[in-house]
Symmetry: C2
Subunit: 209 residues, 2 copies
């Protein structure tokens, strides 16, 4: 990443990623709807979190949690809560991640933000702020997670269509984790995607001041 360092060990320059990496993460990467039966190992899945975890969150709170579903029994429990259009592809994926928010993420603050441990109590006392911070930052981390799947040479198939309460009761019965997004993970199968949908033009998205 760095070409040279200051005497204090800081970089003087940051390097961009190359075109192959841009393609793998952004420009050529596609949401995958069909998978080969090549398995994805526990090590490969663990490596996704090990990469995604480094990207930043507000006050270092890291509220996202991940349930990896790999076993046939786990898959059966998951698929019945997926929307009709998402069930078959979820069943066919070698692994599926249920991304969730830990509603009590603030309990980790004394460890994660050691110079501001009192933020734990402030969030305990303010449910609205706690929920807002957790929801926003878990979603931010979901973005990192999807790109980390791709960074490892795996295909991601994120899906918002599922019965959240059903999944939460099935897998998180104590109520602490709440599901937010389900992501199929594997290698692209036959005709894995449709033609790409349009992106907004910059003049609908970007403004200047």
């Amino acid at each position: 990443m760095t070409t040279s360092l200051t005497a204090e060990g800081f970089p003087t320059h940051l390097a961009p990623i190359d075109e192959a990496a841009q393609a793998a993460l952004f420009t050529q990467a596609r949401t995958v709807n069909s998978f080969t039966d090549t398995p994805v190992s526990e090590e490969e899945l663990s490596a996704i979190w090990e990469l995604a975890k480094w990207a930043p969150t507000a006050a270092n709170t890291q509220p996202m949690r991940v349930l990896f579903v790999r076993t046939p029994e786990g898959k059966e429990r998951l698929v019945k809560h997926m929307a009709e259009g998402n069930a078959a592809k979820t069943a066919s994926a070698p692994a599926t991640a249920v991304l969730a928010v830990d509603t009590r993420f603030h309990e980790h603050i004394p460890h994660l933000l050691p110079f501001r441990p009192e933020m734990k109590d402030a969030l305990e006392a303010n449910e609205e702020m706690r929920t807002g911070l957790g929801t926003y930052n878990a979603a931010l981390q979901a973005g990192y997670f999807i790109l980390a799947v791709r960074a490892h040479g795996l295909a991601a198939g994120p899906m918002a269509g599922f019965d959240k309460d059903g999944i939460d009761q099935e897998f998180f019965p104590d109520g602490r984790w709440r599901s937010t997004l389900v992501v199929n993970i594997g290698h692209p199968g036959e005709r894995p995607w449709f033609a790409r949908l349009p992106r907004l033009e910059a003049d609908s998205v970007v403004s200047w001041a």
Copy 2:
């Protein structure tokens, strides 16, 4: 990205990104708090959205919007709404992005999701669903945006500490865009970051089924 293609033009294999790209995006990248005075051009800033736009959103809705603040006048209008600890670094950054959600993002659905244009009316009629979908997916895109800044060899300094209502009244007075995150952008300056804060251990984050 791909090593070979099927007769239909689909890849048979996806390649991981290399270690340098992993370092630039995740493992070595750090939130930057001081910047050199090297400018960041309009072309460089535009290229961030042009990369981030390709990553997926639910129903291709793309609800995130970006205001790039570069001029001295724009900076002055912005800095007064930043929290005390974020004002000086925002003033020193050559550019700052205000990431926002377009509360009427669903108006673009007939163009963005041409096979399901009726989703626009369903979201118009259901404010709770519309707000939830917009908020979640704009945050997901903020995650992509931060990594896209880094992908271009620029440093990102995301900040949640600012007066949202103040920024919205200042820059988005018609009420359609609502600010969610402010990201300083530039090249790392002197002692640009502190020691890295801890990440959660995998056994606090990851579970299996």
